[in-house]
Amino acid sequence: MNKEEKKVKRRDFLFTASYAVGAVGIGAVIWPMIDQMNPDKAQKALATTEVDISQIEPGKSITVLWRGKPVFLKRRTPEEIQEARAVSLDDLPDPQKDEERVKEGKDEWLVMLGVCTHLGCVPLKDKGDYNGWFCPCHGSHYDVSGRVRKGPAPTNMEIPKFEFVDNNTIKIG
């Protein structure tokens, strides 16, 4: 081949520039088509829920719906807290201290997403081998701190963002 043919021609430049502009244009059109499937503004507006916890006796729990998912609010007895804290981190597939899963000074309140981290079923309370929760779908066991102990679930049940508005009210989200 001679040098003349190897040289970048005006036409090559035009081709490359057209493809580049075309690609950007197609991308700009495709992105809205993809992003429209993400949660819309109405979904995002449901992001917080306030819960009255004054009626919950020690050892009992309630379930509330937050963003379409159940949230377990459990008021734990001192024995249950002790049991959760006595567990060695080496026994946990997803090591996490019980202290890290509750608010300091409010140790009796366990607030977590009642969603199995395997495939999203709702675990049953007071079931399973660890005195906590048991997921009926694929057999994951959780302890009194909602930490996975056995089964296919990869992580502990998630702690959502929450705060105590006052002594009787929790705001989730």
């Binding site: 993809i34 499937m37 993400n38 949660p39 819309d40 979904q43 379930t63 719906l65 963003r67 379409g68 998912k69 159940p70 981290t117 395997h118 495939l119 999203g120 079923c121 709702v122 997921c135 009926p136 779908c137 694929h138 057999g139 089964g151 296919p152 679930a153 990869p154």
Partner: protein, 419 residues
């Protein structure tokens, strides 16, 4: 072939055919030379076409009465069942039709596995068929969600959560699929939209599947290449059409048996409870046709591992034409492979059974054994058996079977004897 010589009789037909050769296509489909020894296992292509059309027609009708909204969907399905004229019939045909569709497709796939229909030169037909099968599973799953009962809701939750196993982006993908932070109204809406779309994608792939089939022509129970047209072939019409029609009639009797006598036997009674995001049913099972894959998913005690293995179980089929090293297509002439074929059939049926049982104790052991064999069959048995097996003599043509003697040993046989 004959279609090139086709000339319409009337002037008007010729005028039209010169502009759009639909009549040539019709003539091709009518005269299409088909092996004369096709058995009833070959009638399921026609049966599947019938199933697809049935699902599309009943589906379009159901969409005229169904409401895709989380608050109204369950009620609208009951409205179809109780108030819409013949609504119960149309819905039962549609819901049982999905099961019949899968029954037929599994027979069709195993037919292909037995007679080696996936082998050269039919790899593209096989791959297109698998794509159709994948879309069928997606469409069936999406459709099962629409009544918005407990099984719909929790089935949708479990299946969409499979994607959350993907590292890093898994959570974002699940949220994107849901359009919310859980399976919710936006999820139902888009599932309805996609459920309406997929059958038409399947229809498009079916056209390609048949087009690709008509290039090499049908495989046959003997699995040998035949001259077309020749004394080994018959024209598609009326020979195959009438045989397909008879088989379809038998199939429709079974279909009608389900629709009229036990329309709910293949479903799950929990799906007549409205969806409740706070309570998971004690025992979640997918529809029967997905159970073997569900068993594979549950046999792995690791989330990502289970998901990967389940998808691999399907995607390994795509490379099947290259895993099978045997030059002989039909298992009729493969004494060793034939036995493994039946082991695979039993293995898949067993996986389906344990998929419906709780994932514990002996069922878990069976699921693991079944999963291991499933993969061994494709990764080890197929290449090794194809290489080592001494196949039986193959006839030269359909008309001259080996048994009668006199025929020259085929090329494949000569090759075998050298080994």
């Amino acid at each position: 072939m004959s279609e090139h010589e086709y000339v319409p009789k009337s002037k008007a037909a010729k005028w039209f055919n010169d502009r759009l050769p639909l009549l040539t296509l019709g003539a091709h489909l009518t005269d299409y030379p088909t092996p004369k020894n096709l058995n009833y296992w070959w009638t399921f292509g026609g049966i599947l076409t019938f199933c697809l059309i049935t699902q599309i027609v009943t589906g379009i009708v159901l969409a005229m009465h169904y409401v895709a909204h989380a608050d109204l969907a369950f009620g609208s399905v009951e409205h179809i069942m109780r108030n819409v004229n013949y609504g119960w019939l149309i819905r039962y045909i549609h819901s049982n039709g999905a099961s019949m569709f899968f029954l037929a497709v599994y027979i069709h796939i195993f037919r292909s596995l037995f007679y080696g229909s996936y082998k050269s030169p039919r790899e593209i037909i096989w791959i297109l068929g698998l794509l159709i099968y994948l879309l069928m599973m997606a469409a069936a799953f999406l459709g099962y969600v629409l009544p918005w009962g407990q099984m719909s809701f929790w089935g949708a939750t479990v299946i969409t959560n499979l994607f959350s196993a993907i590292p890093l982006v898994g959570e974002s993908i699940t949220t994107w699929l849901w359009g919310a932070y859980s399976v919710d109204n936006p999820t139902l809406n888009r599932f309805f939209s996609l459920h309406y779309l997929f059958p038409f994608l399947i229809l498009g792939l079916v056209v390609l599947h048949i087009w690709a089939l008509h290039i090499p022509g049908n495989n046959n129970p003997v699995g040998i290449d035949i001259k077309k047209p020749s004394k080994d072939t018959v024209p598609f019409h009326p020979y195959i059409t009438i045989k397909d029609a008879f088989a379809l009639l038998m199939f429709m009797i079974i279909f009608a048996g389900f629709v009229f006598f036990s329309p709910n036997i293949l479903g799950h009674s929990d799906n007549y409870i409205p969806a409740n995001p706070l309570v998971t049913p004690a025992h979640i099972v997918p529809e029967w046709y997905l159970l073997p894959f569900y068993a594979i998913l549950r046999s792995v005690p690791d989330k990502l591992g289970g998901v990967i293995l389940m998808f691999s179980a399907i995607f390994i089929l795509f490379v099947l034409p290259w895993l099978d090293t045997s030059k002989v297509r039909s298992a009729v002439f493969r004494p060793i492979y034939r036995q493994f074929f039946w082991i695979l059939v039993i293995d898949v049926l067993m996986l389906g059974y344990v998929g419906a049982m709780p994932a514990e104790g002996v069922y878990l052991v069976l699921a693991r054994v079944g999963t291991i064999y499933y993969f061994l069959h494709f990764i080890v048995v197929m290449p090794v058996v194809g290489y080592l097996e001494k196949t039986d003599p193959i006839p030269m043509s359909i008309s001259e079977p080996v048994i009668t003697g006199g025929a020259e040993p085929s090329l494949a046989r000569k090759l075998n004897e050298k080994v």
